[in-house]
């Protein structure tokens, strides 16, 4: 099988680097184009990227010349699939332009997430939403499929099996989010050392809206889930890995053991299809009283290619202050499962379904 040629837009940022690393030896996809801001165009990726993730920059991308995010450039290189990790201020227009030109765009950005014809997908949770692209196809040659915000993804995966089995009435989530979520230059060291910042701009709004779209249904349009959800989002001094404290009320009474059981056994379409980047088990349960911990657990997930793709849940307890109350802690890697990894899994799903 010939590999599919892909482009990465926003390839030098932190999520861009994750794409490069995860795709550098991918069995189905082949990096053909790397795009970055205009000041980098024409230079070699290895010269301009400030590589900061684990392992070294893959040899086979070092010499790729940065191209502008132009339709013509993509066509010239034979690109079929475009991953977008663009800065939000430019993402809306460029992603749309690419889709109109016929490309399949899989995006991490928030630009088109809430569009009424754009699926917002976590492959294990709502792969059936992909059908919404049919509506897009009536409007343009290509399609846009989006992945949710990094905080939404872990939360939605953890809620999905509970919602299916017991119904969720109400969720309150309090987060402790990693620095990489704000980008390399996002949080000055002077701001966060011996400190935390109890605020992340627009994050609470994104999480609460996106969850309802994801856990809802698509039936000639998105029907949002009927769940009450509230969030309070905070930045802590951790490099990678968002930790979330979840309090919830189920409709049908569930014990902590029930919750643990349904999480442990949860599998989605990526597992059934054995997609390359799918973790064998999307939710890993830790039994120790003091886990999950970001530094220790953030790269969970098997096989090797799915490292950082599993979420880790611990401390599942009854919450007596709520009716049918449950509380637990969850951790997900914000730039792998929460961004590039999820998008690649979406692309693998599209490929497996012959959409690309």
């Amino acid at each position: 099988m010939d590999k599919i040629k892909v482009a990465i837009l926003g390839a030098t940022g932190m999520v861009g680097q994750r794409y490069v690393r995860l795709l550098s030896n991918h069995p189905w996809f082949d990096i053909s184009v790397l795009s970055a801001s205009s000041s980098s165009v024409g230079k070699k990726y290895g010269e301009i990227v400030k590589w900061i993730i684990e392992d070294e920059i893959p040899e086979n991308v070092k010499d790729i010349t940065i191209l502008p995010a132009e339709v013509e450039e993509m066509k010239k290189e034979g690109v079929e699939l475009i991953f977008s990790a663009l800065p939000s201020e430019v993402a809306y227009d460029i992603e749309l332009k690419m889709a109109e030109a016929g490309f399949t765009v899989v995006s991490d950005t928030s630009a088109h997430r809430m569009d009424p014809d754009v699926p917002l997908v976590i492959p294990e949770v709502n792969s059936d939403h992909i059908i919404a692209i049919e509506e897009q196809k009536r409007k343009r040659k290509g399609i846009i499929v989006t992945g949710p915000n990094c905080t939404t993804i872990g939360l939605a995966i953890s809620l999905k099996p509970i919602h299916d089995e017991f119904g969720i009435k109400r969720v309150l989530v309090s987060t402790m989010q990693a620095l990489s979520g704000a980008g390399y230059f996002g949080v000055p060291s002077m701001a966060i050392l011996d400190n935390l910042i109890p605020y992340i701009k627009n994050e609470e709004e994104k999480v609460t809206k996106e969850i309802l779209k994801i856990l809802g249904k698509y039936e000639n349009g998105f029907k949002f889930a009927n769940i009450k959800i509230g969030a309070s989002c905070h930045r802590v001094c951790v490099l990678d890995g968002h930790t979330e404290v979840v309090f919830l009320e189920t409709i049908k009474k569930a014990t902590p053991e029930d919750i643990k059981y349904c999480m442990k056994n949860f599998k989605g379409e990526p597992q059934l299809l054995s997609l390359p980047t799918a973790p064998l088990q999307p939710i890993i349960i830790r039994e120790e009283p003091d886990r999950p911990q970001p530094r220790i657990d953030r790269l969970s997930g098997k096989p090797e290619r799915a490292k950082g793709m599993a979420i880790v849940v611990g401390r599942i307890r009854e919450e007596l202050a709520l009716d049918n109350g449950i509380k637990y802690i969850l951790l997900s890697h914000n730039t792998i499962r929460g961004a590039a990894g999820n998008a690649i899994l979406i692309a693998e799903l599209l490929k497996a379904k012959n959409i690309i």
Copy 2:
């Protein structure tokens, strides 16, 4: 007025050091005895303490010789008031022995907090609970008065004006607690750098029980408050200052402005009595979207002597996922307001009421 001679038990630990500093130039109290573990007895305080808080060790305590925590030693030195920051495994017996010998014991430890005749006091919140000592006096010559857990104190202060004005039905709290709460050796650097620990042993149990005693009434025994409360407690990489994320339901509907108003205007008996360590305003409201932050706000409180005695509240918002829902962030200094400072304020209250 002659100053009252006081002893500090457990004087070398982190809370012990806070006592030493706050009492080193106190207008009413005079440090006469410093007590520590048997290996330190007979040595000078300045030689054995590993002083780590702001400012240097006060000159006037450096040469005090460590004494054992014995009744006879206290009597010989003319001590009237004993502050206990003892390790929990020995606190129960020693505090009781001291009270039986006639001393007034003010304790930070958890040993006697839930005893049916022992008041658990935050002077601004439930100074009227002190009447419970009458029952103790029927049993022994001296008395024990306790202060709550460091996490409980900030939370209880923030809830008090809301509970008085609107009634609280339900509270869920998620904490991000400082390292000093675990003691100097409590959290290895290898455990917490680039990490957080989503668990603090027994903390959730303490907070939920203590809040109900404090917000309850004393009428021939403690009547616990009728509030549903749940907690999830976590350690983050911050030196001092516990941050708490509070979600709550009021009985009477309240807007964020209502909550802000009643917090801002909240005053307790320490403010009315102008006690030396009382902050002019027990709750400071920050209007910035990203405050309170522990490193910047933990030493809030005026005048100078009350630094670290005010709690700081920010981000008061409506929480639509709860009925009559409100959410906010609070910060309190865990070893000042959350321990030594609160205990000193209790002692000042006892003195102002002529109990000592």
Copy 3:
């Protein structure tokens, strides 16, 4: 005595904030003008500054309206003395313009430090260099006096008594510098958490050149000291306080006790003149094997106004790998003694000498 009206240029940066705090209740100087980048002009200081140092922003400066760094504005407000904490790219021209207009400019910036007629002053070390302003006066109405780089200052103070007493032949210094030295946005948290950066641009060059000017003589021009000096400069994850490891060779043999003695007894003109911001003892010696430590020792210095103005030296040992070898560790607060505090001490010296 009427206070002298001063302006602070670059008042919103980290060094600017130190100036504001140290001058907010100064006995001789009165803040009349605060200047910052053009986007802030016309706004109130309290609204635009991102205040991050200890204590709150002083009440009496909150409502000062930011003015542009223009000669006319200074004159209109009756300013006599100008402190410059300007960004280096604009400092050269603005400082010169102000001096030409007749103002006394005391600057922290590197712009004019090495000018042949500009004294580079640490008041305890080379107050006699101020005479170089006579040469400036022949060229312009006002004068420029500069303070050295933050790393240079601590090092020079520690070397001065040794050089006077024993002569220094050779110095090698390896630094561990604080984050605030790079400015609030200088070091991203992603760059430094669980890390260090073994490089600070231009720092080694500045330190080695400046030391020789400072320890040299002024005799119709600056005669640089004849010392061999090498430096390697590194950034570590510490908020404030530069630590320096010094290896040196003396000309006359000195024991560690000799070095300790001459450092302990070192005093300069600020001490003799009892200048307001002068520390009683410019060099504090710590005897503990593991001191100085930045978090614990960086605010050393008495009286209260001189906190952060003393440098702290520890671990003075013989270095057998050098002839007449000595090694020690020194710590100085990089934005107080290393910047704003040193500049204020210079201004106090100019005032005491009736130059302003």
Copy 4:
């Protein structure tokens, strides 16, 4: 080929965990015995170890039952080779007892490092010193071979090619060492956050003595190298990876390019023999001005099995303050190259030379 059965003494500590991970799928060695403190004996490794290094605890060691460090236990299990990561207070006697009983002991501990018949080996640097075991064999049935202190190892590797080519007269080293070097509980978070500690007990003495033994010769006894060496050792807030700042004088003049060239081309016996854990290139040169950095560079080394076995050198510059002066920065992983990895490489060397 049958694998050699090995025991790890002190298997639960941080270096012990590195041994377990590096040996869990070793081509020549097979973990037969894990030994730890008496309180762990009889329990399963997976139950008692507080696993904190990257990746999860290897499946094949989880169920190994902890045995005491007794000769009989080793014999019963058919052990031939013993790796010791014992606490220093017990290492001396147990290692000697094991050697006397006929085992080959490869030790990381300092106990026997300076013994006159014990080789102190970095396989790339002084594999010829292994001949000293002949003297041991005259005294006892087994042998002890030791690896140096973690700080010594990186330094010695970097000095070796320079010393061979140009001769080294004098070395001054200033270190910034990682927390893991002190063991998991070694440095409390309260001690090091926003701080550094400019002292590591006994470290400077170890480094300076060990270097001279390693760079010396063995000719009927160890002849120490004739180099003047001084050290100042400091702890910084970094999890893994010791950074060292090296100033040195060569006998023959060398340019930075000369130094770079000889380092880059340096190879030792492990490379010639293609030992499994040998890095292809023992010294990696980074050309960027701000490298090496511990978080980014500490796992350098190829192939996969040799990750963390290469040292990384950067910023090689002329040092004008010394005659024939050179300075550079080096980084080595303190628990891999600096401990377990070096010891395993020693064992591989012994095996390749048919000593085991």
